[in-house]
Structures are given as structure tokens and as C-alpha cells.
């Protein structure tokens, strides 16, 4: 079964955009290869959206497009964050506008210590959580603050990447596979953290292979397949829909 | 053909045809026209094209495949030249032993330098090779003068011992280099109307060796050995954890490319029996780097193109003086003529290096990937145009 996204929501898009973050008909390319083929969805303020799909479906590419990274090239489409046109910005401007991305391979900066990695996030405005507060949330990082970031264990790096995003005062948090490589207890921890920040009003998009966990956390879900949206609805809808789960999520 | 895939065989064939017909191709302008200045079809330059082509092909085996950027390759060229000249002085004027010795000596030299330098990678490797080459240059220029004849360069003289041969030729001069009696300098000139085509024995020897060198390089590129070298470039870590020691592979590539340089050096000396120390200077090493990048590092034909490009500028543009410019623009009214000469003047003659510098920048800015990529782009453009032409008639006749 294919659940077609409801494009009527997007009618008369830009000015009347109802949502906090709205992504409208983006098309993204890596060189010649056409990866994201017209994706549109909305995220409301304070909501957690799960973006799901197989390997290579284009989830990462979609997040990177929203974060305005140089690669992929977005040839068409609009992205509005709180009435600001992200699609006209470069990545650092998007970040100043309130966007935070935790990239899939964590991208801890080599040559910098844990603390420097965090300080780096607090150079440009707007500044978010203080380092003390972050160390409180992730005591591990506090213990390791003088260690070079890239020598952290895989899971520690993941914590650092999330902490780095929170060190900025962001409005929308984009998480690309935040649970990957984390011990189950830590996953629980992070899930708790995400709930906490949600309560404080954070809007989140989470991409996750562990679909069940993501769906338990999320309010809504979007499923991508080969660069197009095949489902857009509430998280519980997915959990209830056998066929959808089997076809796209293998759960 | 020769165990090559079709595409490579075609490439080899094209190169073969081009080198064999070079005396025609490089001499397109009649010798009495103003454009004759741009002709490059005279023995010395043709020889240089192919010899530096060989040098660059060899360099590319190391740099293009493994990514190790040697900044001291000219040392091997120089060592090759010195060996060859010594062979001429001591043994015989036949080029075969000279070339063999230069390849062997350069190979041995490369083995030593490579063994030490390859303990480091990246920029550290580049600086190590640079240091070795600069040391060789400095020593050859002064301290080792008894062997290298220093600044002047090692030349033949009338009192060379020359075991297999004579010290002095019949007419009282220094004997000339030859291959079993065929003098390297002997040139057959063909007058066709205003054109003069020169077929030089030395050039053809170099050209044949270039083809061999090119063939061997294709084989290396396509062989599993070549694959290993590319793997070295891509991810040495993974290579290690796959049970492969990268060192012997890189060292082999280094020695092979050193031998290519030695061959080029030996050929230079065979065509013109002089070996100068500045052949080993860092600028000379830099030149082959530039040739390779300019043509397209990692491509088969690129280095040869790059070598031709640089040598062409050095030899042709440097010779255009104001006199020549006035000849070119003579057809214009006087004021305009002088104006044109003034405009062009800074870029030719003594300004040739300015033009070369500008060309370097232009190529790397507009044709990332070098001349080969430029060629491919043009090729694509043509194909696209053709495709567009093919489809356009169809568009005119509606499907209904």
C-alpha cells in the first residue's frame, strides 16, 4: 500500500505556512545522481518527527539539504523555518537561524579536545546550554574534557555530537541516527534527554534505523523510499500498520 | 592487441601514429609564412617532447597511482644523463650501453632514495625526496666537479679514452652518438613546396622508446599491480589490515618511475651528449610535477600532453621577439601595428614565462583534472551537439 502524502496542506505555501518548519518540494542531487526527488513535509513547533526508510533511501540527504550543506545541491524547493527562508541561506546562516544538525558520522573535529569541540559551538550566536549544564547531562564528557575528541569511544563521540548541537540555542534539532553505536542504557538516557528538550519546546527530526524506538518517541513519522515520501502520518499509524512496517521498515 | 583492452589499444595506436607522423603534424605552417615561428617540427624539440614525455609517464606511475608526490625526480634524470655521458666517454658512442647504464644507475639510485624516503608519507615524503635531490644537485654543481664537471656540465672531449671506439673521429672532431652506425643526429630533410619536414634518426629512436614506455605504463595501470598502487593511494590502513605491506609496492613504483627518469636522462644525453647539474635542480623536479598535473595526473596520456605543452612554450614562445611581432602585424597600419606589438610584447620572448604562468593558472582553474579533462569536455560537447542534431529532426516530425 502506498500512502500518498497530502500535498493540499501545502497549498499557498510560503506565506501561509502553518508549520514551524516546512519543507516544500525539494530536489537534491549528488553531482548527476538525483537523490531526493521532490520531498515535502511539515513539522510543528515542539513536535518530534521520525524520518524513516531503508539504507540509501535519502534520509541523510534530506537532512543535509535542510541544513543547507554544500553537498548535495538542492536545485529546487523551499525550506521555511519560523518564517525564515532557509533555502536562501548557507549552512552557517541556517545555523544562526536556529538549525542544529547532528550528522550521521558525528563529525567530531580532529585536533580539538572535547571541550574545544564544545567551545567551538559557542563562538557564533545564538548560544545555548552552558558547558556545565552539558557536562551534567553527559558526565562522561566532563571526565574526558581534555581528551582529543576523535579518540573518544564511538558512543562517547555520539554524546559529544549531541551536546555540541545543544550548546547552541537552536529551534530545530536534526538527528541523524543518534542511537547508532550506543549501549542500550545510553540510548535510554538520550531518549530521556530528547524528551526533556521536547518539553522545553524543541522541535526535532530524528532519522533512525531502530524504527520502533524512534516511533515510540515521535509524534509523527515520514517514510522515505528512493527519494520520495511514501507515508506521512502519526507515529501510531505506522506502528499499527503491519503492511507499511513490513514493506519499508522490515519490522 | 598486445593484451590490451580495446580502448587502451586505440589510445596506444593513436599515440603511435601521432609520434610517427610528428615531423608533419608539428610543422603545419609553411616555412616562409609568419606563423612558421609556431612550427615545432625540428629534431631537437621533437626529441624533447618525447623524452620529457617518457619522464612524465614514469613520474605519473608513482604520483598518479600511489599519490606519493616526489619533488626530487629530476635527480634520477640527472644521474641517468651523467651515466650515459660517462659511458660515451669511456666505452663507446653506441647509445645502447649508455641507455642501459643510465636506466640501471637511476634505478639503483631510486632504490636507495626510495627506501629511505618511503618511510614517510604525504608532505614529509615530498620534502625528503626534495632534500635528496637538492643535495645531489648541490654536490654535482660543486664538490663532485671531477665527476660531473660542475656548472659547465659533463661534455665529451677530444681526449676521452673510449675503449670501444676512437677518441677522435676521422675529421678531427669528437665522434657522434650512434646506434650501430646510425648517427643520432642524422636527419633526412624533405622539401615539399614551402614546407620542410625533418626526419631525425634520434627522434625515431626516442619515439619508439616512448611507445614502449607508454605501452608498459598502460600495462602497469591496468594490472593488479596498478590496482594495488591505487589502493595505496586510497586507504593504506585498509591495505594493512588486508595483509598487504604497502612498502614493497610503493618502492617498486618509485624505482620503476626512477628508471623511466633514468631512461629519459640517458636519451637526453644520447641526443646531445651533455649532462648539466641544473637537470637535477628542484625547478627541474617541479617541472615534471607540473607537466603531470597540467596534463592530468593519473591519466595515461595526460603527462605526455603536459610535457609537450611546457616544452613548447619554453622553446617556441621564448623565441618570438619584437622583430617577429612586427613581421606578423606588418599588414596593419603603422600605428595599429605598433599598438599590437606593444600589447603582445610582454607575453612573448623574454615574457614567455609570464604566458606559461598564466596558462598554468588558466588550465587548473578552467580544466580541473588537466588537459585530458579539457579534451574530454570538448569531446562531450561535440557528442552532445551531435546527439542534439540527431534528435532535432525527430522533434520536427510530431509523433502523431
Amino acid at each position: 500500500m502506498n500512502v500518498k502524502p497530502d500535498f493540499s496542506k501545502h497549498a499557498n505555501h510560503a506565506e501561509t505556512a502553518p508549520a514551524f518548519l516546512s519543507v516544500w518540494d525539494i530536489h537534491a542531487y549528488y553531482g548527476e545522481s538525483y537523490i531526493v526527488q521532490g520531498v515535502s513535509f511539515n513539522v510543528h513547533e515542539g513536535e518530534i518527527l521520525a524520518l524513516l526508510g531503508r539504507n540509501g533511501a535519502g534520509k541523510t540527504t534530506t537532512l543535509r539539504s535542510i541544513a543547507r550543506l554544500a553537498n548535495p545541491q538542492v536545485n529546487k524547493g523551499e525550506i521555511w523555518l519560523d518564517h525564515q527562508p532557509l533555502h536562501r541561506m548557507s549552512s552557517y546562516q541556517a545555523s544562526m537561524a536556529g538549525l542544529g544538525l547532528v550528522p550521521e558520522d558525528r563529525r567530531i573535529i580532529p585536533g580539538l579536545t572535547v571541550e574545544e569541540n564544545l567551545q567551538l559551538a559557542q563562538i557564533a550566536p545564538p548560544i545555548g546550554w552552558s558547558l556545565e549544564r552539558l557536562y551534567e547531562l553527559f558526565p562522561r564528557l566532563g571526565e574526558r574534557r581534555k581528551q582529543e575528541g576523535v579518540t573518544l569511544s564511538g558512543g562517547e563521540q555520539q554524546m559529544l555530537a549531541i551536546a555540541r548541537a545543544l550548546a547552541r540555542d537552536i529551534k530545530v534539532l536534526l538527528l541523524d541516527e543518534p542511537y547508532e553505536g550506543l549501549a542500550p542504557v545510553i540510548v535510554d538516557e538520550i531518549e530521556k534527554t530528547l524528551r526533556i528538550v521536547k518539553e522545553q519546546g524543541m522541535t526535532t527530526i530524528i532519522v533512525e534505523q531502530n524504527a520502533v524506538r524512534a516511533l515510540q518517541l515521535a509524534d509523527r513519522a515520514v517514510i522515505l523510499d528512493t527519494g520520495s515520501i511514501v507515508f506521512d502520518g502519526t507515529a501510531s499509524e505506522v506502528l499499527e500498520n503491519e503492511q507499511l512496517r513490513a514493506e519499508y521498515l522490515a519490522i | 592487441m598486445f593484451g590490451l583492452e580495446k580502448k587502451d589499444a586505440t589510445l596506444l595506436l593513436i599515440v603511435a601514429v601521432l609520434t610517427m607522423c610528428a615531423p608533419f603534424i608539428l610543422n603545419p605552417f609553411p616555412s616562409d609564412s609568419g606563423l612558421a615561428q609556431f612550427n615545432a617540427g625540428y629534431p631537437d624539440l621533437m626529441q624533447r617532447f618525447v623524452i620529457f614525455g617518457i619522464f612524465a609517464i614514469g613520474f605519473n606511475i608513482l604520483f598518479g597511482l600511489t599519490g606519493y608526490l616526489s619533488f626530487g625526480h629530476a635527480a634520477f634524470l640527472g644521474v641517468g644523463s651523467y651515466s650515459a655521458v660517462w659511458m660515451f666517454k669511456l666505452l663507446s658512442m653506441n647509445v645502447i650501453p649508455a641507455i642501459l647504464l643510465s636506466v640501471i644507475v637511476a634505478g639503483a639510485f631510486a632504490l636507495i632514495i626510495g627506501f629511505v624516503s618511503l618511510r614517510r608519507s604525504g608532505i614529509y615524503f615530498s620534502i625528503l625526496t626534495l632534500a635528496f635531490a637538492q643535495m645531489s644537485f648541490a654536490l654535482a654543481y660543486s664538490v663532485l666537479t671531477p665527476i660531473t664537471n660542475g656548472e659547465t656540465g659533463l661534455q665529451l672531449s677530444l681526449n676521452d679514452p673510449r675503449i670501444l671506439g676512437t677518441s677522435i673521429s676521422a675529421d678531427g672532431g669528437i665522434p657522434v652518438t650512434q646506434l650501430f652506425g646510425i648517427e643520432m643526429r642524422s636527419t633526412y630533410a624533405m622539401d615539399v613546396g614551402p614546407w620542410l619536414f625533418q626526419f631525425n634518426a634520434g627522434y625515431y629512436l626516442c619515439a619508439i622508446l616512448l611507445l614502449l614506455a607508454f605501452y608498459l605504463s598502460i600495462r602497469i595501470f591496468r594490472s593488479p599491480f596498478g590496482l594495488m598502487l591505487r589502493a595505496v593511494k586510497s586507504n593504506q590502513q585498509r591495505m594493512n589490515y588486508t595483509g598487504l605491506n604497502a612498502r614493497p609496492y610503493t618502492l617498486a613504483a618509485f624505482v620503476i618511475s626512477g628508471m623511466y627518469a633514468g631512461l629519459a636522462g640517458g636519451l637526453l644525453a644520447s641526443m646531445d651528449p651533455l649532462a648539466g647539474a641544473e637537470r637535477m635542480q628542484w625547478t627541474a623536479s617541479g617541472e615534471v610535477v607540473l607537466m603531470t598535473i597540467l596534463g592530468g595526473a593519473g591519466t595515461l596520456i595526460g603527462p605526455v600532453l603536459g610535457a609537450g605543452f611546457i616544452k613548447y612554450f619554453e622553446n617556441i614562445f621564448s623565441k618570438i621577439n619584437d622583430n617577429v611581432l612586427h613581421q606578423w602585424f606588418a599588414f596593419m597600419p603603422d600605428g595599429l601595428e605598433d599598438f599590437m606589438v606593444t600589447i603582445v610584447h610582454p607575453f612573448v620572448g623574454k615574457g614567455w614565462s609570464l604566458t606559461l604562468g598564466l596558462m598554468f593558472m588558466a588550465v587548473v582553474i578552467f580544466l580541473p583534472g588537466g588537459l585530458v579533462e579539457g579534451g574530454q569536455k570538448i569531446g562531450k560537447l561535440f557528442r552532445r551537439k551531435k546527439a542534439a542534431e540527431d534528435t532535432s529532426p525527430a522533434a520536427k516530425t510530431p509523433a502523431e
Partner: protein
């Protein structure tokens, strides 16, 4: 080319000469001046301009109609002051442009290399600025000719003047460029000064690539030497001299005498480059544009040349320019007298040729080694130059006899002229 018994025999109504000068690298300005002289010479040979030294030249075989009735054309090339590049450039002139004579150059290494090439190719080489003894010594060639003086002659000319100026009891410290020219220069000047009674305290070889000579200069301070001899040329010399002056050597008193600096080989461009540091420093030159005005009519030709050069280019010619100009005229004249361009005939015409009126006074092209013998100038840096053309002052002219040596002099031994080679 047609087989007429020698390489590049001119077939049409023109004859092509090849001017191979440094156009890039540190000697580019010198090369540019040489090129100006060549162009002027060609003009004069073809009967254009005021004729320059043609009118003062003692031989009257040239009449301003080119050479042997053929109009003179020329090609130019860049030696880059590298023997390899110079040979490539010369070869292209010979192979591509049909040049029948190659001239020019600004260093001995290049001169020897190109001379060797011309010998092999069978064309005449008229050396430009080359000062090493080897060019007409161990590396001499039948097809090569040198008008410029050499290291031995510099030393021989300087020695008596140095004795007059600084006395016979001196201790010299040599800094020498570490390559063949530097060595022959040092060897010559050491021999000549020791013959005067000078002591040689030390001789230190400096790398060609050196730009800062401070670490070679400082040991001089306390070595006990009271004369510093800089066997350097071009940029090396400008830098070493500048450094020596910076370190206050010239203000020093050693052994109760003023410390002195000597630069055996001088040139106008070097003097310009050295600026105020050159003031009062003694050296030798092949020629100077003020020669006729100051030293009399013996040096006729000088003024004629300076006039036509100055009118055309707006400044007086350098010694390099004069040499190149003279060499071109000498070549043309020899061809005219021989009645052919065959290098062997030209060689015969030049060998032992005595002439006058080319600015150096009576001159001999010696047959044994193809070296010119003529008076040598001892010069020094002007204390108060009236303009940038008067940086060099003539101190004295050393007559030919004093600088002449035996062709078998040990400093020149080891080579053989060989047979002339007409090529094809």
C-alpha cells in the same frame, strides 16, 4: 638544408644569425643589453642607422649591404643561464631557423656548453660575456671565439694597480663562488697577487645559491686579513659586497692599514645593483663607454658606438653590449673577407686577425686559442657619481703586453682546439 659543404649554408638572399642570451633569470637585464647591441649591429650591417663602429673598424670589408650581399636577419632565444636550456635554444636556432652563427650568453658554463654544441653542429660560436679561463683554455674549440677578456687577464691587469694602491704587504681573504668560473678567477687572482708579495690568508667557497653572506663575512673580521677579494659575479657579488659593507669591513683598520675590498670582475649592472656599496671598490672591465673620452683616441670606435647606441636606446651601452656588438661585426667581417660563410674559412679569417677601431684599441684574435688580446681596464666605483651612468670610474688601462700569456700556460692547459667542423 642543401649540401653545400657546411651547416645551414644560406640559400636565399638572407643570412640568419642566432642571438642566444639570458632573458629570464638573474642575468636577464644583461641579456637584454646584449640583445640591444645585437640588433644595433644587424642594423649597421644592413646599412641602416648611422653605421656605428663600421666606420672606425680597421677592416673595410663590410659595406653596409649585409654580409656577402645577403641581408642579415636574426633569431633570438633564451639561455635561462642554464647550459641545458641554452643548448636547446641554440639547437632550435640551428635546426629550425637555419642560424649559421650563434652568439651571446652571460656565463661561462653556458658559453662552454654552447661552444661545444656549435663545434658539433658545425656553426661558428662568437662568445658573449664569458670570463672563465676554460672557455679558451681547457674547453676551447675550433669553432668558438672569445672577444671578452678572462680571469687570468683580470688578475694580470689588476695586480700592478693593486700594488700601487694598497702596497705590496697585504693579506688577502678570498670568498669564491663555488663553481668553475669562481675557481679559475680565484686561482688567477691569487697567483697574481702572491707574485706581488701578498699573502693569501684563506679562500672560502660559497654556495651559488647563497643570498646572505654574513656567515662568510664575519670570519674575515678577525682573520688578520686586510683585503677581501670577492670572486663573485652578478647577484652573488651584489649580495656579498653589500654584506661586507654592512659589517663595517671598509671602516676597519687592520695591521695599521685600511681594510680594502676587491672585486676582480666588474660590470656596470653589478655596480648599479650594489649601489653606494661599490664606491671606491676596485675591479677590472673589458671595456667602458667613457674609454675614448678619458683615455684618448687609441680607443676609437667607442664614441661612435656609444653615440649610435645612446641615440637608439637613451643610455650608454654596457661592456656586455660592446662585446656582443664587436663579435657580430667581427664575424661579418671575417665572412666578408673569407668570401664564404663556411665556418672553417671564417675560422681561418679570424685566426691571428689583428684589428682596431672596435673600441678596445689594437686587438689580436690569437690563432692558438681564439682568445682576443687587448688592453684591460682597471676601474673603481665612483665616489660621487654625477648620474647613474657614471657609477664606474676608469683608474687605469693595463696594456695588452701585461695581460698576454702563453697559450700553454698551466691555467689554460688541458684542452685542444681540435679541427674546425663545417658540419654537414
Amino acid at each position: 638544408a642543401a649540401h653545400s659543404g657546411y651547416t645551414n649554408a644560406p640559400t636565399g638572399d638572407t643570412v640568419t644569425l642566432g642571438f642566444n642570451v639570458p632573458q629570464s633569470g638573474p642575468y636577464a637585464d644583461e641579456g637584454a643589453d646584449e640583445l640591444r647591441a645585437f640588433e644595433l649591429a644587424v642594423e649597421h650591417l644592413n646599412g641602416e642607422g648611422d653605421g656605428g663602429m663600421l666606420s672606425t673598424f680597421s677592416s673595410k670589408a663590410l659595406d653596409g649591404t649585409g654580409i656577402l650581399g645577403k641581408k642579415v636577419t636574426f633569431v633570438t632565444g633564451d639561455t635561462q643561464t642554464k647550459s641545458d636550456a641554452a643548448r636547446a635554444s641554440a639547437k632550435s636556432m640551428i635546426e629550425k631557423d637555419g642560424a649559421i652563427m650563434i652568439s651571446g650568453g652571460s656565463s661561462s658554463g653556458v658559453a662552454v656548453a654552447v661552444q661545444g654544441l656549435c663545434q658539433e653542429a658545425g656553426v661558428v660560436f662568437m662568445a658573449g660575456l664569458t670570463h672563465s679561463n676554460d672557455t679558451t683554455g681547457k674547453d676551447k674549440k675550433a669553432n668558438g671565439f672569445r672577444h671578452f677578456f678572462n680571469a687570468y687577464m683580470s688578475a694580470a691587469a689588476l695586480a700592478p694597480v693593486l700594488k700601487n694602491l694598497y702596497g705590496a704587504d697585504r693579506a688577502a681573504y678570498h670568498l669564491t663562488a663555488d663553481y668553475t668560473w669562481g675557481w679559475t678567477q680565484q686561482e688567477s687572482i691569487q697567483a697574481a697577487t702572491e707574485a706581488l708579495g701578498w699573502r693569501t690568508v684563506n679562500n672560502v667557497l660559497t654556495p651559488l645559491a647563497a643570498t646572505d653572506f654574513s656567515s662568510y663575512i664575519t670570519p674575515v673580521l678577525n682573520s688578520g686579513a686586510d683585503v677581501l677579494v670577492l670572486n663573485h659575479y652578478g647577484g652573488n657579488m651584489v649580495n656579498s659586497l653589500t654584506n661586507a659593507v654592512q659589517f663595517g669591513l671598509r671602516d676597519k683598520q687592520v695591521n695599521g692599514k685600511n681594510f680594502e675590498i676587491v672585486v676582480p670582475l666588474y660590470s656596470e649592472l653589478m655596480a648599479k645593483g650594489a649601489g653606494a656599496n661599490i664606491k671606491g671598490i676596485v675591479g677590472s672591465q673589458n671595456w667602458d663607454w667613457k674609454l675614448e673620452n678619458q683615455m684618448g683616441a687609441k680607443y676609437t670606435g667607442t664614441n661612435a658606438f656609444v653615440q649610435s647606441f645612446g641615440n637608439k636606446y637613451g643610455f650608454p651601452p654596457s661592456q656586455a653590449a660592446q662585446t656582443c656588438y664587436a663579435q657580430t661585426l667581427l664575424y661579418a667581417d671575417a665572412a666578408a673577407r673569407a668570401g664564404t660563410f663556411n665556418p672553417c674559412a671564417i675560422g681561418e679569417a679570424l685566426a691571428g686577425f689583428e684589428f682596431d677601431g672596435l673600441g678596445n684599441g689594437p686587438t689580436l684574435y690569437r690563432a692558438d686559442d681564439h682568445q682576443c688580446f687587448k688592453d684591460v681596464l682597471v676601474v673603481k666605483g665612483a665616489e660621487n657619481p654625477e648620474d647613474e651612468f657614471h657609477l664606474v670610474e676608469i683608474v687605469e688601462v693595463t696594456p695588452t703586453e701585461q695581460v698576454t700569456y702563453d697559450p700553454n700556460h698551466p691555467m689554460f692547459a688541458g684542452g685542444a682546439l681540435g679541427a674546425c667542423n663545417p658540419g654537414a
